[in-house]
């Protein structure tokens, strides 16, 4: 078994060397010499042109670092040589404000990381730390407008001295531990985030870090402040683009969309597709069928979809027999849609149809032109007559009713008003036709509406017109093609088209005008007319009710919340697609918002010692997610702490897979009544790795609650240690805390330790602690092997299953990466 472990580590580190462990030659503008002294600390501060108060903090940190002994508990840190580390490297002169000005070598490094154009891969604006300095940084404008500050910590020192003086080192003072002191002395980069009162960010903020130079240290410093009622999720690290297994819709259209083209995102704006991913997928596929059935789309289970869960917006009313629980319109309209894995969608949940917000005026279309185009959409066709040498004509065919005759006459008049020629005639059977050979008119119809019933398509220019202009066209279209009927005293409008794309376009235009229309497909069939067999084409039926009455659909701004009627699952084998879209990292599938899958991580170096401070004020919520996958020669010694004030909620999601030695115990200080802290910790220790992790909860006020869930896997000589503290202060009445740690051992000689410290100074505290240590069970292995799985496959299956419940709660890309890493681990051992 140990041999198997060796193999795994060997292979992985090879892979790392090849794939991520490279080191580009970078021309460092500033590089302190190896080792640490007061002079070096001063030099770092000088290079950064820092104010004196920051230099003072650094020097204090340095002195404490010198005076503190190495910790005598926990993992063995004797391999760290503080004199053999570069404490500061700065690759370029200036921080780049645009991607173009980022130096080529650095771009190359990002390319190798699978982040071809790093700026474009961000969820919501993020920063890249290249060695010790931030080289690129991008913040979404709308964040800025809301007063959100998201910048690198160095910039924050210069621009926000007030906030920095108040909070920097307040949560984790340099006296806390030797490595926090070291970080205080030499820190560089990291993120600074301030979310003002009441601002809730739905998209996570993200940053990624990498060490390039050998023997460089990485000492980023992150400070996140969520003011009263604010909500923020921060993700540290990223994943390689080429590892993405995520897919989008399998529609032909998506297959044809090219990189560089613009697509609409969930915000209703248009952004460029930076990268397109094609993958072969053989497995489960979901088909989500919303109320408007023809909008149904297919995607894989991991793909996130913008959604409001039905159970979060129910009325208090008792559910009626055999009815779906009733939804409160008020709650629905107030709810904030979130991205949810398609797997987790249920029938009745609301998904989000987004109408585009971008519009451009164009002089090309006056009202009459739009009316003509509307009628062309409904009744017109362009054809060329070969007998006459390919002369093109446009014909509008009408019925034989009086109304149709009037419409044909109106059209004829409009065309003439525009100065074009046309003629109108009545066929023997009584049908009216308006025909024109006018090149200008033909080109207009051709260019903006397409030709042939199935290929009709509105031009981008028309799709970008302001809604009120588009409405003119649509009204004419409806006049030509639609029918109106009454249902329950309401006027229902209905039209049908053989052009699938046109149907979606009309739906989009109506949505821009605030109307949600139902789209249904009537399948083509064989029919007989006058004894002649004909094939009826597929027809798309567009239907809506006048006014804003939309049945079960509710709208807010440019979003419509549409209930899912049915979810189908089936097996799929073929190519699937995914895009990386600038800025919003989302796109729409048949109008519905889905998220793209992104991200990155990496490193190769010797010491990573970061400090992360979080402050969650009254009612604020912070979620901090990190999965460290440093190469297996790194000491990862990170201090993470949060202060949670009245009714605030802090979540740490901490995954530890990489590094040689890891010591990390995120903590939450529950400082005021009602504060809540949650820690989820996953640790995987392979051969020779030490994962010493866990969490601390300090209950310093009444009615505070906390939970720590830890799952660890040890393999070969790997050691996992859970180290946790639950402290309940004398004045903290009515505290609830639950700790659960499960460890799984894969080998006879792998080790796990559990050190749950409790310091409870009250009798009324409810504290539960559960710990399990599982070896892979004989019965489970036997069961899987009796079905033909080899021992190694059986083991991999069990390990993945063990992690799955937590992995599932992770943001998508991490969940995938985590599973991939673990699978790599075990699949390599299949000999």
């Amino acid at each position: 078994m140990a041999v198997i472990g060796e193999q795994f580590v060997g292979q992985t580190s090879n892979e790392y060397r090849e794939k991520y462990g490279f080191s580009d030659k970078i021309d460092y503008k500033f590089k302190t010499k190896k080792g640490l002294s007061e002079d070096i600390v001063r030099e770092i501060s000088r290079i950064k042109s820092e104010p004196s108060w920051m230099l003072e903090k650094r020097l204090t940190g340095y002195r404490i670092f010198k005076s503190k002994p190495m910790p005598t508990w926990g993992a063995d840190l004797s391999g760290i040589n503080f004199d053999d580390i570069y404490y500061y490297l700065r690759p370029t002169d200036n921080k780049s404000s645009s991607w173009d000005s980022v130096p080529e070598e650095i771009k190359k490094t990002f390319d190798k990381l699978g982040i071809p154009e790093a700026e474009r891969k961000f969820f919501a604006g993020a920063e890249a730390q290249y060695d010790s300095e931030v080289v690129y940084h991008n913040v979404r404008e709308d964040l800025e407008r809301q007063g959100v500050i998201f910048t690198d910590t160095d910039t924050a020192v210069q621009k926000y001295p007030g906030l920095m003086k108040k909070y920097f080192g307040e949560i984790i003072p340099p006296t806390d531990n030797k490595f926090a002191a070291l970080n205080t002395a030499v820190w560089s980069g990291g993120s600074f985030i301030y979310v003002p009162k009441g601002i809730k960010l739905t998209m996570p903020l993200q940053a990624y870090f990498r060490i390039n130079a050998e023997k460089a240290g990485q000492f980023e410093r992150t400070l996140i402040i969520a003011d009263e009622g604010a909500d923020v999720t921060y993700i540290e690290g990223c994943l390689p683009a080429d590892e993405l297994i995520n897919k989008g819709d399998s529609l032909q259209r998506i297959a044809e969309v090219k990189e560089g083209e613009m697509v609409q995102t969930h915000t209703g704006k248009f952004h460029k597709i930076q990268k397109k991913f094609v993958h072969h997928h053989s497995g489960m596929m979901l088909e989500i069928l919303p109320l408007s059935k023809a909008n149904g789309f297919k995607l894989t289970g991991e793909h996130p979809v913008l959604c409001i869960k039905r159970n979060t917006v129910l009325t208090k009313r008792r559910p009626r027999k055999s009815w779906n629980p009733e939804v409160s319109t008020l709650a629905l309209l107030k709810a904030e849609p979130k991205f949810v894995r398609a797997d987790d969608l249920r029938e009745g949940d609301f998904i989000v149809y987004v109408a585009p917000t971008l519009s451009e005026q164009s002089q090309e279309f006056d009202d009459i032109t739009l009316k003509i185009l509307g009628l062309y959409l409904a009744e017109g066709s362009v054809s060329s007559n070969r007998a006459l040498g390919g002369i093109k004509s446009v014909a509008f065919s009408f019925g034989k009713s009086k109304k149709e005759a009037e419409l044909a006459t109106k059209l004829n008049t409009w065309i003439h008003e525009k100065g074009w020629k046309a003629s109108m005639y009545k066929s023997k059977r009584g049908y009216y036709t308006v025909t024109s050979y006018d090149k200008e008119l033909i080109d207009l119809c051709d260019n903006h509406c397409g030709r042939g019933a199935e290929l009709k398509l509105l031009s981008q220019k028309i799709m970008r017109l302001p809604p009120q202009k588009q409405k003119i066209l649509i009204d004419a279209y409806w006049e030509g093609n639609g029918s109106v009927h009454e249902r329950n005293g309401k006027k229902m409008l209905r039209a049908s088209t053989a052009s699938r794309l046109l149907a979606y376009q009309i739906q989009e235009i109506l949505a821009r005008a605030g109307i949600f229309s139902n789209l249904n497909l009537r399948r083509g069939s064989i029919d007989f007319i006058f004894g002649r067999k004909i094939m009826r084409r597929d027809q798309y039926i567009i239907e809506y009710a006048e006014g804003r009455e939309m049945g079960e659909v509710r709208g807010r701004g440019n979003q419509f919340f549409v209930p899912i009627k049915h979810i189908k699952r089936y097996y799929f084998d073929g190519d699937v697609y995914n895009f990386s879209v600038a800025r919003d990292e989302s796109y729409l599938v048949k109008g519905f918002a889905v998220h793209n899958c992104t991200a990155p991580i990496y490193v190769s170096s010797s010491l990573h010692s970061a400090v992360v401070e979080l402050v969650a004020h009254k009612h604020a919520h912070i979620r901090y997610v990190t999965i460290q996958n440093w190469s297996k020669n790194v000491y990862n010694l990170v201090t993470q702490r949060a202060f949670a004030y009245e009714s605030a909620h802090v979540e740490w999601f901490d995954g530890n897979i990489g590094s040689a030695t890891n010591m990390k115990y995120p903590s939450v200080y529950l400082k005021e009544r009602g504060a809540k802290g949650d820690i989820v910790s996953i640790a995987v220790a392979g051969e020779k790795q030490v994962q010493d992790s866990g969490g601390k909860m300090l209950h310093l006020a009444p009615d505070t609650t906390s939970s720590i869930i830890s799952k660890s896997v040890s393999k070969g000589s790997g050691i996992t240690t859970y180290r946790g503290l639950i402290h309940v202060a004398k004045n903290a009445s009515n505290v609830k805390s639950a700790v659960r740690c499960d460890a799984l051992l894969l080998d006879e000689n792998s080790v796990t330790n559990t050190y749950p410290y409790m310091d409870v100074q009250r009798d009324d505290a409810t504290i539960t602690h559960e710990a399990t240590v599982g070896k892979i069970g004989e019965d489970e292995l036997f069961y899987l092997m009796s079905r033909g799985l080899s021992e190694e496959e059986a083991m991999a299956t069990i390990v993945l299953g063990f992690i799955e419940p937590l992995a599932k709660a992770l943001p998508l890309e991490y969940s995938i990466e985590l599973k991939r890493l673990i699978k790599l681990d075990t699949s390599n051992s299949v000999g």
């Binding site: 069970g777 004989e778 009796s786 033909g788 799985l789 069990i798 993945l800 799955e804």
Partner: protein
């Protein structure tokens, strides 16, 4: 395929459990082993599959004349043997369909045709009157005792073994479910020609099945072999009459 158990002695932790078992069966045949609780029926099944803590002290288990005692459990499965468990284990986080696929591929040593597999799952889970939510579930997780048993039968059918050993496929099932399970076992026999060794200590399931061979196991020994009439004798006289210790 021919499965032979020859003068088999085996035990766990030094305690003898199987004390001289003999049995021979072929593909296409339906055998039943009946015996009281603790008579060693389950251990016999586990021995055939190489459960690690069962140690064989004497005798042999042969497939087509070759001993399989040196093979690991998965290799025995690859020969075309299937074991339906009395108590199937729950495995957290492992998707049922993924698992079926993996096991099918492992046994057949070729890539599974997922389209067909999904179709088969749908058809047979329908036949077994199972809730098709099982498709999205973790392996046996949260299933009732009865559903777990049905899931075993489903796996057996999809695996297409040559000989299947079903350890108490009827325990924990209500009367309706017993009938459904028995009918599906019969159907599998009919359609695939699988040889079936059913272990049970009730004869209820047997009233829906047509075993050609009945073996009575008492205290680690096969003490009687015969046809269906043995069951009637058992009904009347109980196991005691077979116990010749």
């Amino acid at each position: 395929m021919k499965l032979e158990i020859k003068d088999l002695y085996a035990g766990i932790d030094g305690k003898a459990i199987i004390k001289g078992a003999n049995l021979s069966m072929k593909e296409g045949e339906v055998h039943v082993i009946m015996g009281p609780n603790g008579s060693g029926k389950t251990t016999l099944a586990k021995t055939i599959f190489g459960y690690p803590s069962v140690k064989v002290t004497q005798g042999d288990v042969l497939v087509d004349g070759k001993s399989i005692l040196g093979l690991t459990t998965d290799k025995r499965a690859a020969l075309g043997l299937f074991l339906g468990f009395q108590y199937p284990v729950e495995i957290e986080g492992v998707g049922f369909v993924n698992f079926l696929r993996a096991s099918k591929e492992a046994v057949s040593q070729s890539q599974a045709n997922m389209k067909e597999l999904m179709k088969d799952i749908k058809v047979w889970s329908g036949e077994l009157k199972m809730d098709d939510s099982i498709i999205g579930r973790a392996l046996n997780k949260g299933l009732s005792g009865g559903e777990k048993k049905k899931a075993e039968i489903l796996q057996m059918i999809l695996q297409r073994p040559k000989i299947a050993i079903l350890d108490e496929p009827d325990s924990g099932l209500d009367i309706d479910a017993i009938k459904v399970v028995a009918e599906n076992i019969n159907k599998a026999i009919e359609e695939t020609g699988v040889g079936m060794l059913v272990i049970t200590h009730y004869n209820r399931i047997l009233s829906y099945m047509h075993p050609q061979h009945v073996h009575i196991m008492v205290n680690g020994k096969i003490v009687a072999d015969g046809s269906k009439e043995l069951i009637e004798k058992l009904e009347k006289e109980g196991y005691e009459s077979f116990d010749h210790r």
